[in-house]
């Protein structure tokens, strides 16, 4: 499971209100939400974005509201993954749950700049900076997370009650 794309880099504390402003939350359609992705952070975001590009953020990416619309909008806009120093916990869970890969890697975020080309291997956690010819190491996804990604989200894994919660 890999992603290759050019980087769009932003700062710390990118909140869910700028990722998808609440004025658009009267829709729950991914394609509709994608049209306004990052609008209040960078009005030209969608113009700059090419399918498969990688968003890089600083600390506490996705802080604020629990709106799953935020990772849904980023994913539907065509971003292949987000790499940040740290993620707000609800955004982190939501991304995994919808089958959208995100990685924490402080070292990569320090060096990577907008326009760099990255190759990310989620199974090994290796992030290659093809522009600089360098490598960074993030935590690889364990098997159950890979399973969620492969199934395009948690709900597909839950179908038919196949998850064993361990107790009743």
């Amino acid at each position: 499971m890999k992603a290759v794309g050019d980087v769009l880099k932003y700062g710390d504390n990118i909140d869910t209100d700028v990722i998808i402003p609440a004025r658009y939350l009267n829709s729950s359609e991914a394609e509709e939400l994608a049209k306004h992705c990052m609008e209040d952070l960078d009005i030209d975001f969608l113009k700059k974005l090419k399918k498969g590009d990688i968003v890089v953020g600083g600390q506490n990416f996705g802080c604020g509201s629990s709106r799953e619309h935020a990772p849904i909008a980023i994913k539907a806009a065509g971003v292949s993954c987000v790499i940040a120093k740290s993620f707000a916990r609800i955004f982190y869970r939501n991304s995994i749950n919808i089958g959208f890969p995100i990685l924490e890697c402080e070292e990569a975020v320090e060096e990577v700049q907008t326009g760099h080309k990255l190759e990310v291997d989620f199974k090994s956690g290796v992030i290659k900076n093809l522009t600089l010819g360098k490598e960074y190491k993030a935590q690889p996804f364990p098997e159950f997370i890979i399973n969620i990604m492969d199934n395009n989200g948690l709900i597909e894994c839950v179908k038919g009650n196949k998850i064993n919660w361990g107790h009743n």
């Binding site: 700028v18 802080c63 509201s65 629990s66």
Partner: protein, 422 residues
């Protein structure tokens, strides 16, 4: 004998059917309540429907509250509410709250006795952490987690580390729970408690009303926390006696439980505190504010729309007028609080002062409706977030404050201490 645990560990251990859990451990737990609103539930319902299940795990343990864009502000919002309404009817959800019964979810759920000590609660709303004020483990999740919760009645958690916040002393006259939590966020930052639990303890807890505690627990997410939690004392028991008919189990931290960090706050030393744009951590005390001329004041939300909040605001606004050029929007948290405010004459005070008194809604807090800001406008708000564009235009500004500061600012037209007008 088991190893010592803090309050959150004990609740999660019980929910997982284990004697002991440690920070970092992945566990699955049984859920006592799964909550959603009119924005997050439609996404959750679409996910739930993919499972092809014809019923939820327990129709009594799900709460659906139409509070964000209600009474519906536009056609699309109305379609979302309709979807939730139909789902609630189809699944025979006991605790479905539509316009007329609804309130802002985090004011409503405790009032209805649906959150109680020892519970494990998830809600597809980040401010679900509010119920930690009643000794529950309660945390915000997204719509897929809500959907899985509704289907399975279980979820998984990583047991968080805990930060112990020791409260001492008694707050001064115009200092409330809002100032306590803004002070804390200003101290540790918006990711100061990321992935962690904030456990409030110490003799100062006794000097905080339940409404103060709800406000504090409500905003722990603004420091990145997974949950906030308060011990159950006499004040909490009195609240529960009045609102909750169900039995509950009280968990208390062991004296030698592990914490990643200990923070002390002397409540008597706190001053009214304001968070400047565009992060809740950008705090200043009232004496550091300088002159900030404002266009709007909002008093309400899941953070500060409870009866104590309205009483404090009314005590300042009584017999005074809102400054010409300032819009004052007052929004009670629930229908019950609305009626209380009518009966106590608070609504009359707000309207006579030149403000408006609305039906419960999250409305302006997230820039939904009922008080959107234009470019360049400034608002003092008792809500919880002041991010870019949160209440409207990207070039508008939100200053977070207590109901006392908000009311005083409405009178003067600039950010002001209650002492300036009393």
């Amino acid at each position: 004998m088991t190893k010592p645990m803090n309050m959150t560990q004990k609740i999660l251990a019980a929910g997982a059917g284990l004697d002991y859990v440690e920070a970092g451990q992945l566990i699955s737990v049984k859920l006592d309540l799964v909550l959603g609103n009119d924005i997050t539930s439609p996404v959750a319902i679409k996910e739930f429907n993919k499972t092809k299940l014809d019923k939820v795990f327990d129709k009594d343990k799900i709460a659906l509250v139409l509070d964000h864009f209600t009474p519906n502000k536009d056609i699309k919002s109305a379609e979302h509410s309709k979807m939730v309404r139909e789902f609630a009817n189809q699944m025979e959800i006991t605790n479905f709250f539509d316009v007329g019964e609804m309130g802002i979810e985090h004011a409503l759920i405790p009032e209805k006795g649906l959150a109680k000590p020892g519970d494990i609660i998830i809600g597809a709303d980040s401010h679900t952490c509010t119920y930690g004020a009643l000794g529950a483990f309660s945390t915000g999740v997204g719509s897929t987690d809500m959907a899985v919760g509704m289907a399975a009645g279980h979820t998984w958690f990583k047991v968080p580390e805990a930060i112990k916040v020791v409260l001492k002393g008694k707050p001064a006259k115009w200092v409330s729970g809002k100032d306590v939590i803004l002070h804390l966020i200003g101290t540790i930052g918006v990711d100061g408690a990321l992935y962690q639990s904030l456990e409030f303890t110490g003799e100062g807890v006794a000097n905080l009303s339940m409404d103060d505690r709800f406000t504090i627990a409500n905003m722990v997410i603004e420091a990145g926390a997974k949950n906030g939690i308060f011990p159950i004392d006499e004040t909490a028991v009195l609240y529960l006696n009045e609102h909750c008919t169900k039995e509950y189990k009280v968990f208390a931290s062991d004296a030698d439980a592990a914490y990643s960090r200990v923070i002390e706050i002397d409540l008597s030393a706190l001053k009214p505190t304001i968070a400047f744009p565009h992060l809740p951590e950008n705090t200043k005390t009232i004496d550091q504010v300088g002159e900030v001329i404002i266009d709007q004041v909002v008093i309400g939300s899941c953070t500060n729309g409870r009866i104590d909040d309205l009483r404090i605001a009314a005590s300042i606004l009584q017999g005074k007028k809102v400054k010409r050029g300032v819009r004052l929007v007052v929004i009670p948290g629930t229908q019950k609080i609305f009626l209380q405010a009518m009966e106590e004459g608070l609504a009359k005070i707000f309207v006579e002062a030149g403000g408006i008194f609305s039906t419960p809604t999250c409305g302006p807090c997230l820039g939904g409706h009922m008080g959107i800001l234009a470019a360049g406008e400034k608002c003092v708000s008792t809500t919880n977030r002041n991010f870019v564009g949160r209440m409207g235009h990207v070039d508008s500004e939100v200053y977070l404050a207590s109901p006392a500061v908000a009311a005083a600012s409405a009178v003067t037209g600039k950010i002001s201490s209650p002492e300036e007008v009393m």
